[in-house]
Symmetry: C2
Subunit: 346 residues, 2 copies
C-alpha cells in the first residue's frame, strides 16, 4: 500500500516514441500472408490464447460475438505496461522532488521520511510506514494546483533516467504490450489503464506513449478543491487520498469511470487479482491475463517476494480460473522498443 | 443539495427514440444549400454564437484552431438536456421506489421522510432535510448490487410517466439539445454529461437517448464495495455518498474523469456556475451556455425562485462573462421530439 499514490512515471520527447515505432522490425507475415499484429510475441500459447479470444468475440454471427460498445480491455500500468523495478517510477519521482525541494525545507534533515530519502536510505523510507507516505505525498504531490503538478511531472519525465537501464522511463514500456493495445483497438476495443498509481501522474504521457486517452486512464486520486487564486479559479491538490485504485478498489474504479464490466483484464500483481476476478466472472466470454516477470537477463525475474508488484495469490489462482499467464522470457521476443537515437548516450 | 443524489431519470423502448428521429422534420437548408444541423433552433443570436464558435475552433489554419483531442463539451443533464420540473426525475424514482417497498417496511408509516412520501407530502420530504435524504438514498439507492440497481432503474423507466406531460421521461429530452450534441460530435467534439444526479441512474439510457457513452457520463457517486455474495463477486452499493458532482464539485468531477478543461460547457442552473466558470476561464477560445427556461406554454418558466434548477447567480453573471443565454421561448422552435407512436395513449 505504501506505493499506491506513488506508483508511476516518465517521459521522452515526442519523437523518441515515433522513432521507436519507425525502427521497429517490419511485421512478420503469417502463413496466410497477413501481417502479424503482434510481432514481438513468440508463437506460444499466450499469444494464441489472446488472438483466438479476440477472433471469437469479434466474428459477426459467432455465438460469442460482443458488440464494440462492450469491448472493454483494462490494463494495469506498473509492471504490466512498463517497468516497475527497482521501484515504482512514481516513487522515484517523489524522491527526486524531495531532493529538489530540500533546500527550502531545512527541517527535513531531521524529519522522516525526508531524512531517510535525503540519505538515500530506502529501507528507512519504508520503515516510516503509512504516516511517512502521507507526509511524502503531501510534500511532493499536493498543495499545488492541478496545472502546476502536470508541469512538474512533465519536466521531470523529460530529464529523468532509469537508474540501471539508463533510459527515459517512457522508453521502458513493453513493446509487446504496445502491440497488444494497438491490436485490440484495431479490433474495436476501447483500452483503459486501471492503475494503483496516481491518475494525474499518468495522464501527461499515456496518450503519446500508449495511445490511451486521458479520460481512459483510471488511477488513485488525491482530493481536489476548486477555489480562486489571485482572482482565477484553480483546482488545488489537497494532501489526502480521495480514492485508492488498487486491489478491491480496481473494480470500484472501473464501475465509477467506465460503468461496464470489462471483457479483458491484464495485470501482473496481486493488486490486480480483483480486477481479473471481476472481469472473468462476468457472463459470456472473458479473458484474464497475467504478466509473469521471468526474464532476469532482459528485464527482471520476480514474483512472490518482490516489494514492487508482488505476485503470489493471482499466480496461484491463474490455472483454476483459466487466466493466461505470460512468461516474459518464453513468450516475448522483444521487451522494449528500440533506443531512440536522441537517448542512446546518457 | 437535497436532490443531489436524487436528481434524475427515464426510459422508453428503443424504438421510441428511433421513431422520434425518423419523424423529425427534414433539416432546413441554409441559403448556401447546406443542411442545417440545428433545425429546432431559430436563427437568433444563441444559435449563431454557437455555430460561429464551432467554426472558429474547427477551421484548420485558423489561429483559434483546437485539435480534436481538446474538443471537450460538457453538458449538465437536469433542465439542460431533459425536463426537471415539477421535480428532478431521480426524486420521482426514489418516491416510487419507497411506495413499492413500503409493504416490507411497516415502520415507514411513522418514520420521516417515508411517512411524508407515503402521504404524498413533498413539503414534508423537504422538511426532513439532509438527514431525511440520506435515509431516502439508503432505502432506495443502496444495499443492493450495482447490477440490481441498474435493473431497477431500467424497469422503472420502462413504465414511469411524467406526472403532467404524461410521456416517458426519456421522451422529455430537448430536441434542440439532441441536435446540438450530434452537431458537436460531427465536428470532432467528445460530449460528456456532468450532472449532480447519480451517475448510475443515468448510464442505463444516456447512450441510447443522447448518444453519450456510459464512460462519458459523470455524476454523483455512491460508495461501493467489492465483495463476494454466494461465491460470486458483486459491487455492493453502500448508503453513503462518495462524491457530489454539483457546484464546485463539477470542475473536480471533470478533472477526475476527463482530465482536461472543457472547451464548451452547457448548463441551466447555479449548480453549473463553477463548471461554466472553470471552462470559460481557460486560455484560448471557450464557450459557456446557459439554458433559461422561459416557456411556460410549451415547458416551464422558472429561474430565481425555483426549487429544481434555481438560476440566479449564473444568470446575473452571464453578460459580464460572455456566456450565451438560451431563451427557450425565443430560441427554440421545438422543445421535445415528436411523440413515439407507441406512447401516444397512456
Amino acid at each position: 500500500m505504501v506505493t499506491l499514490v506513488l506508483a508511476h512515471a516518465c517521459r521522452a520527447p515526442q519523437h523518441d516514441v515515433e522513432v521507436a515505432a519507425r525502427e521497429a522490425p517490419a511485421p512478420q507475415r503469417s502463413s496466410r500472408g497477413e501481417a502479424d499484429p503482434l510481432p514481438s510475441w513468440n508463437d506460444t500459447t499466450a499469444k494464441s490464447s489472446i488472438t483466438r479470444f479476440v477472433a471469437r468475440v469479434t466474428q459477426e454471427g459467432s455465438p460469442d460475438y460482443v458488440s464494440p460498445a462492450d469491448r472493454i480491455a483494462v490494463f494495469d500500468n506498473d509492471g504490466t505496461l512498463w517497468v516497475e523495478q527497482p521501484m515504482y517510477t512514481q516513487l522515484a519521482f517523489a524522491i527526486d522532488r524531495v531532493k529538489q525541494l530540500a533546500p527550502e525545507h531545512p527541517e527535513w534533515r531531521t524529519q522522516q521520511p525526508f531524512a531517510a530519502i535525503l540519505a538515500g536510505d530506502l529501507e528507512g523510507v519504508a520503515a516510516s510506514g503509512q504516516r511517512g507516505i502521507v507526509k511524502l505525498v503531501a510534500a511532493t504531490h499536493a498543495n499545488i494546483t492541478s496545472d502546476e503538478f502536470e508541469q512538474i511531472v512533465e519536466r521531470w519525465l523529460a530529464t529523468a533516467r532509469h537508474p540501471t537501464l539508463h533510459r527515459p522511463y517512457t522508453e521502458l514500456v513493453y513493446l509487446p504490450m504496445l502491440e497488444l493495445l494497438a491490436y485490440l483497438r484495431a479490433n474495436g476495443f476501447t483500452t483503459y489503464i486501471v492503475s494503483g498509481g496516481g491518475v494525474d501522474f499518468m495522464r501527461p504521457w499515456t496518450e503519446r506513449v500508449y495511445g490511451v486517452r486521458r479520460d481512459q486512464v483510471i488511477g488513485s486520486r488525491i482530493e481536489m478543491r476548486y477555489e480562486a487564486r489571485r482572482g482565477a479559479p484553480v483546482l488545488m491538490r489537497l494532501p489526502a487520498a480521495s480514492f485508492v485504485d488498487d486491489g478491491a478498489g480496481k473494480p470500484v474504479g472501473i464501475a465509477q469511470v467506465i460503468g461496464r464490466r470489462p471483457l479483458i483484464a491484464v495485470g501482473n500483481s496481486d493488486g490486480d487479482f480483483e480486477m481479473l476476478e471481476w472481469t472473468t466472472s462476468g457472463p459470456g466470454p472473458r479473458l484474464g491475463v497475467l504478466v509473469h516477470h521471468t526474464d532476469a537477463e532482459r528485464e527482471w525475474a520476480y514474483d512472490r517476494t518482490s516489494r514492487s508488484g508482488r505476485l503470489s495469490r493471482a499466480l496461484h489462482a491463474a490455472p483454476g480460473r483459466g487466466w493466461v499467464v505470460i512468461d516474459m522470457r518464453q513468450d516475448w521476443n522483444r521487451i522494449f522498443p528500440p533506443r531512440a537515437s536522441s537517448a542512446t548516450e546518457d
